[in-house]
């Protein structure tokens, strides 16, 4: 009798989480409410060391509020009032007060200041286990993505109760992706704990899975087998395992190469954006513009100012910042050209020094206006996270958009130079200034517009950089050298050359990095470039004919 009772009890315990049947609920609600409130009220008094066991107890109570309590705890939104130790869900409102809701009664309380509250402490380990508890509840969630996340959590951190929950739900699961993931979870368990035949069956079925936990389980299984004097069963197991592991490894290798190409292209597209404006000013006007980096910096600060001006439109801030940064930097560019550079025509050394001086002035200006500290530019939601293609291969959204964006800028610029009358004038001036002037092209005006265009594009590059790195007075300096490298490598004044140079420098860097580390990779690229310039001083695609003179 006692045995039956204990079996029954354990059954109830393990199925409690899943029990969604209505008749049980009504009975349990009243019962678990008091249990839950008793446990929740212990939260303020519990030390961090004792928290795991308390949270486990809370997680095992089948109450509709359990999920909320765990979720709030996970998000760091669970507080208690210092005055009477009521556990509340607190969210910061606009007026820097905290809006409180009693977690147990769902009753709204009077908003208070932060100093009246204290947070219920968690740490990474605790949050990890809370995730597992939530995952078990989330298995029955209506949203497919939440279910996938839940199964993934259980796959990586398997527990007996979690597995039995999956076992129960797999037949009811309608979505194919979720079912497959559940299947993998169960197969992995079968692989670990099943009989010999079951293990072999599991291995063959898991052949095409790229989930890291599957491979890890197989590797550790293979390592656990004795190296010598294996039984026949063990031999078969080892052979199967190593075959599948090799298979998975080679697939992962392919994705690794694709990933590296992506990294290279994304670094290349940043270099392209930074360098392309310089190609125009350097190539067309022959001006070495040391203040080019500061044009990028101005673009980045424009993004910051736009986010400051429209705090509620963060999602659209980048779209607004692109034209704004183009205008700001372009305008500054035109002013520099009209105010300084045109008086120094044909004196490259003086221009170099003058623009270097301008770059210092701009840096100090920014320091004075915005302070020397880095400014905080937020990333819009759509720029964060990654596009998960499979468990070992994912592309980060920000890099993906930047590649697309920089190619868009490149082709727009190409179109302007090749198809518009402005482009015609620019090309005419760059090929033969005197002849162009003789044909009534206002070369002064073309110079100003060209410089403005180049600077404007640098400003656009600054918007992109604000998403990747720090927005501070030194932002430009970090990229000016790279920009010159790209321009020189690609061939001065050649847009296609810049594209090829940027992409190849990015890719070479990223393929070298895993092998030799990033410090050495930079050095190798630089040395290689020096040697290349010795051989071909005019870069990859030198301008030919008379334009080259």
């Amino acid at each position: 009798m006692k045995q039956i009772f204990s079996v029954l009890l354990s059954c109830i315990l393990s199925w409690q989480v899943l029990a969604s049947t209505q008749d049980l609920d009504a009975f349990q609600r009243t019962d678990t409410d008091s249990d839950l409130s008793q446990l929740v009220n212990q939260l303020p008094k519990t030390k961090l060391k004792k928290m795991p066991s308390l949270v486990e107890k809370i997680a095992h109570i089948n109450n509709e509020k359990t999920h909320d309590v765990l979720q709030f705890l996970l998000n760091g939104e669970l507080f208690y009032t210092k005055a009477n130790k009521t556990v509340v869900h607190a969210v910061k409102a606009d007026n820097s007060l905290y809006v409180l809701t009693d977690v147990l009664t769902s009753e709204m309380l009077v908003p208070v200041e932060k100093s009246k509250l204290r947070k219920v402490k968690t740490n990474n380990r605790l949050r990890g286990s809370i995730r597992s508890y939530i995952a078990k509840i989330d298995l029955t969630d209506e949203d497919k993505n939440i279910r996938i996340k839940a199964v993934k959590q259980l796959l990586d951190n398997p527990s007996d109760s979690g597995l039995s929950a999956v076992q129960e739900l797999i037949s009811k699961e309608k979505d194919k992706d979720v079912r497959e993931l559940m299947n993998i979870t169960l197969l992995l368990n079968q692989l670990k704990k099943g009989k010999h035949a079951e293990k072999i069956a599991a291995i063959t079925q898991l052949e095409d899975t790229l989930e890291p936990s599957v491979k890890n389980a197989m590797v550790s299984m293979l390592e656990a087998l004795p190296t010598e004097s294996k039984t026949d069963e063990q031999k078969a197991l080892a052979a199967n395992l190593s075959k599948v592991i090799n298979n998975i490894e080679s697939k992962r290798g392919v994705f690794e190469v694709i990933e590296n190409i992506f990294f290279g292209l994304s670094l290349g597209s940043v270099l392209l954006l930074a360098a392309i404006g310089l190609t125009i000013t350097f190539g067309v006007m022959g001006v070495i513009n040391m203040a080019h980096g500061e044009m990028m910096m101005l673009g980045a600060y424009t993004t910051y100012v736009i986010q400051l001006a429209f705090p509620n439109l963060i999602e659209y801030s980048l779209l607004m910042a692109v034209p704004a940064a183009f205008l700001v930097s372009g305008l500054v560019g035109v002013i520099i050209e009209r105010g300084v550079i045109r008086y120094l025509k044909g004196r490259p050394l003086e221009t170099l020094l003058a623009t270097f001086g301008i770059s210092l002035i701009l840096q100090q200006l920014v320091r004075t206006v915005f302070s020397p500290l880095n400014r905080q530019v937020q990333a819009p939601e759509w720029m964060t996270g990654s596009w998960v293609i499979n468990p070992v291969f994912s592309l980060t959204f920000n890099r993906l958009y930047i590649i697309i964006f920089s190619l868009m800028v490149f082709f727009t610029l190409l179109l302007i130079l090749k198809k518009s009358s402005l482009g015609l004038h620019v090309r005419a001036v760059s090929q033969n200034r005197d002849m162009a002037r003789a044909l009534s092209i206002k070369s002064d005006w073309v110079d100003a517009i060209t410089f403005g265009l180049g600077s404007g594009i640098a400003g656009v590059a600054g918007v992109v950089l604000s998403q990747l790195t720090n927005v501070g007075p030194n932002l430009g300096q970090a990229y000016i050298i790279d920009s010159f490298l790209v321009v020189v490598f690609g061939g001065v004044g050649n847009l296609w050359g810049t594209l090829v140079a940027a992409m190849s420098l990015g890719s070479i860097n990223k393929f070298l990095e895993p092998a030799v580390g990033s410090v050495l990779a930079n050095i190798i690229v630089l040395v290689g470039l020096v040697l290349f310039i010795q051989k071909r001083p005019k870069g990859l695609f030198p301008q030919k004919g008379r334009a080259a003179d």
Partner: protein
């Protein structure tokens, strides 16, 4: 007419000279050697303001030995050789009695020979790599065993980390710290293939390849943790990339030694929440001393949003200790103050007391904090007792046998306990 002007001018000069002389007699000069321009200005300006605030408070409370304190601020401009020149200026020309200053190790190494030659006194307030002990320097920041090793212990014990990524910027502090940590991890039974060491240049911003490598390194089923000695600006893109590639603090926690409240104030902290930092002080620690210090600081600087950080507390402790030692010795003479300083105790801002040991390092508690969304830290672990700063790491073969003891009879910065010899080289 001309003659009259000359007389007036000379009398003005003369009177100002006289007043300077009398000033000099009535004040104790305190040198402040922090970069106010250049790359380090971001961090060091704060410490200059801290020292000035402390001096102002001390003067309000009646000065020291019946004299007023007079700050002498110089700007070494983040230029390492200039630190030596400015130190010489402070000691030889201005004749200061004590110097508070330096941030980077290389600036300290640059000032050291001058300090020893002219017998100056420097309080150095930043965590550093150890492997140094000079008679003329008091180290109030953390040595590796007061920051790095407790942090690794925490990850090992509380988070069960068994695989380690040691990521750092390529210069002396990360290289030495990582050498110590690697030796420590191996002594704890971690296999060589479970440790990945990675260095990046200053201001590195393209982290995708490295983060992806860390992700792969951490996906073998063993719990992986990153120990970051990445410096300054490079941290933001690093954490951003971690967030974008979907690595959360629960998957692969990162514990940083160079990320504090001040650095976080320029961050969008969302991607960092849950990652860790190890320091001896956090602004969020609740104590009466700390609350008073923060309020005082905000009032002094006139900005309600300014934060406090660990090097500020180290400056605070150093200053208080120097004041106590001068009162104890009854003079500002460097040799007497140096001896008087050993054993001086000052309350920490986080509770408990800091004691200056015979090796010129402090005993301080070590705190591990998790980054919160508001840019503050929440303490998740604290050493039960204070930890004595160790000048020479026990985990490096070259410094295993060395100790530093500036009390009689040893009086040596690097005393070899095996051979019982003092190498005589102080740094």
């Amino acid at each position: 007419m001309k003659f009259k002007k000359l007389i007036i001018a000379s009398s003005i000069i003369a009177s100002s000279l006289v007043s300077q002389v009398t000033m000099a007699a009535d004040t104790i000069k305190v040198g402040v050697l922090h970069s106010l321009s250049g790359t380090m200005a971001i961090s060091e300006t704060t410490l200059k303001d801290t020292v000035l605030m402390m001096i102002e408070d001390q003067n309000k409370a009646g000065g020291l030995l019946g004299k007023k304190l007079e700050p002498v601020v110089v700007d070494p401009a983040s230029n390492w050789p200039l630190f030596a020149e400015k130190t010489r200026e402070l000691l030889a020309k201005e004749k200061v009695d004590v110097i508070f200053g330096c941030w980077t190790s290389v600036s300290r190494k640059s000032a050291l020979p001058v300090l020893e030659e002219l017998n100056g006194l420097l309080f150095y307030p930043v965590q550093y790599e150890g492997e140094e002990s000079s008679k003329n320097v008091f180290y109030t920041g953390a040595a590796p065993n007061q920051q790095a090793i407790p942090a690794v212990d925490y990850l090992m014990e509380e988070m069960d980390a068994t695989r380690w990524v040691l990521a750092g910027t390529d210069y002396v502090y990360p290289r030495t710290t990582n050498k110590i940590l690697e030796a420590y991890l191996i002594s704890k039974g971690v296999k060589k293939e479970d440790i990945m060491i990675n260095y990046t240049p200053f201001g590195h911003s393209d982290w995708q390849g490295i983060v992806s490598k860390i992700k792969k390194f951490g996906s073998t089923g063993k719990k992986t943790a990153v120990v970051s000695t990445i410096n300054g600006d490079a941290n933001i893109p690093f954490y951003k990339e971690l967030g974008n590639q979907g690595i959360s603090a629960e998957d692969i926690p990162v514990v940083a030694f160079s990320v504090g409240e001040e650095e976080l104030s320029g961050f969008d902290t969302k991607p960092l929440v849950g990652h860790l930092a190890a320091w001896n002080y956090f602004q969020s620690v609740e104590s009466d001393e700390n609350a008073a210090f923060i309020a005082n600081w905000k009032k002094y600087i006139g900005d309600d949003k300014r934060v406090t950080n660990d090097p500020m507390e180290a400056t605070y402790i150093g200053f208080k200790m120097w004041v106590k030692a001068v009162e104890k010795a009854g003079t500002t003479d460097v040799n007497s103050v140096e001896q008087a300083l050993i054993g001086v105790a000052v309350p920490n801002l986080t509770g408990g007391t800091a004691v200056m040991n015979a090796n010129h390092h402090l005993s301080k508690p070590v705190l591990i904090g998790e980054i919160q969304e508001d840019g503050q830290f929440e303490v998740v672990s604290e050493t039960p007792d204070t930890v004595i700063g160790d000048a020479w790491s026990d985990f490096l073969p070259s410094s295993k046998n060395l100790i530093s003891d500036w009390t009689a009879p040893v009086k040596c910065g690097n005393f070899d306990i095996k051979t019982a010899k003092c190498s005589g080289q102080n740094f």
